[in-house]
Symmetry: C2
DNA sequence: CAAAAAATTTAGACGAGCCAAAATTTATTC
DNA sequence: GAATAAATTTTGGCTCGTCTAAATTTTTTG
């Protein structure tokens, strides 16, 4: 069965929005993410449903089928491997890679992606800390990860991922010189607005809003 | 003006078949090269003509306009740079790269292609010896090149390109261990069928048919 | 040069994807 | 539990790119 580029895009988004295919996703959510109209989404959902790639219940939502999940995993794999390539070898910023990877992920060549994986050294995580499925579609174990908004005070932690990969958020982090791997200590948490005082890489002290802290995934040392 | 992927493909092929846009190209030639039907080609030629990307004369043929030539050069540049990447960094064979590059050439990102060019070290020729336009659309000077079928006997030469980049031909060359850069001496030429006896890399002696010799571009030493 | 062959174009149709506007269903609120 | 609001689907229509079959033009050949 031939799977179209647009279909791959829909499947990837349905898979990701539905927490790896476990939850139903709404038509509007998909339309938002793909910058298209709800009516277009409905059209596509019917097609994907006919092809047995999703399970679609009118007015309720959609989730990927086993078949659709495999396609989605493959697309996610390609997307994230290309992101690694762009950041590590072509020196793109992590906020720039998504749009280009969204094109590159549709290149059809089994050999290409396996060779690329090897060239990159079989990376486990993409530049945003998101896990990269291996060639069998298996996700690596997620880091033992907590939201920065939740961690105890005065404990050494480092950034392992972001929940929000939007350009706006990533550009904000760039501006604060916050990168994957950055070391943190949360000095204080303010009841008033949930904001934090954080010491970054044992130097700069800065204030982090709750909104931001809820989108930073950190791993804490023993 | 938005240029579609299919349009880019047509422009590249019209440009290349028409010797860099100097000659008119026939509908059938385009259909052959793109593995599509002549009627589809005619449809597309009308569209390209309306967009002022080609000059199209019914029943006569088509050639790229100045505008179309720029698009074609850009596409050729991307195509050939990706071919270099695939061969040099992912260790594809030169006979495998065309199909993948045909997909990669349509990725839209000015930054990507400039970064890739830099990553590759600004190569001047692709894995088949074809010249790569620079970012201004300028072709590097072609090597001072002769067909192997034309060279004098007992003169040291090396392979700098192939006229035929088909998978069949390249696979044949692989089988004979003939690569870009291989050193040659033509020992003898037979009137009977135009075939040659060649010494390859100062070792193996082999017979080359005229058909093959006419598709090998060589450069001879002083 | 007329007839046959080859190349090309036209006509009509189709699938993929998308959209706006209208209709329908579900959710919310009084 | 109506009435309203929000979400979703349907309807009809559009572009892009392709195809087959038929018509036309150009080229070749006897």
């Amino acid at each position: 069965m031939q799977i179209q580029i647009a279909e791959e895009n829909y499947l990837r988004v349905i898979f990701l929005l539905g927490r790896s295919g476990t939850e139903y996703v709404s038509t509007n959510a998909i339309a938002d993410r793909l910058k298209t109209k709800p009516s277009s989404v409905t059209d596509m959902l019917k097609r994907l449903s006919e092809k047995k790639l999703v399970s679609y219940v009118k007015y309720k939502g959609v989730k990927v089928s086993t078949l659709g999940k495999n396609v989605a995993l493959d697309t996610v794999r390609k997307h994230r491997l290309w992101e690694v390539f762009l950041v590590e070898h072509l020196f793109f910023g992590w906020e720039e890679v998504h749009e280009v990877a969204e094109q590159l992920e549709h290149i059809q060549s089994k050999k290409l992606i396996e060779k690329l994986d090897e060239f990159l050294g079989f990376p486990k995580y993409d530049p945003h800390g998101d896990p990269i499925p291996n060639s069998l579609g298996e996700m690596p174990k997620i880091h033992n990860t907590v939201l920065m908004s939740e961690i105890e005070l005065n404990r050494g932690c480092h950034l392992v991922g972001v929940k929000d990969s939007s350009k706006a958020f990533l550009t904000y982090l760039d501006g604060q010189n916050i990168k994957l791997g950055s070391e943190f200590i949360v000095e204080a948490r303010f009841e008033y607005d949930g904001s934090l005082n954080v010491i970054l890489d044992n130097k700069k002290s800065l204030s982090i809003s709750q909104q931001v802290a809820k989108n930073l995934l950190v791993s804490c040392h023993e």
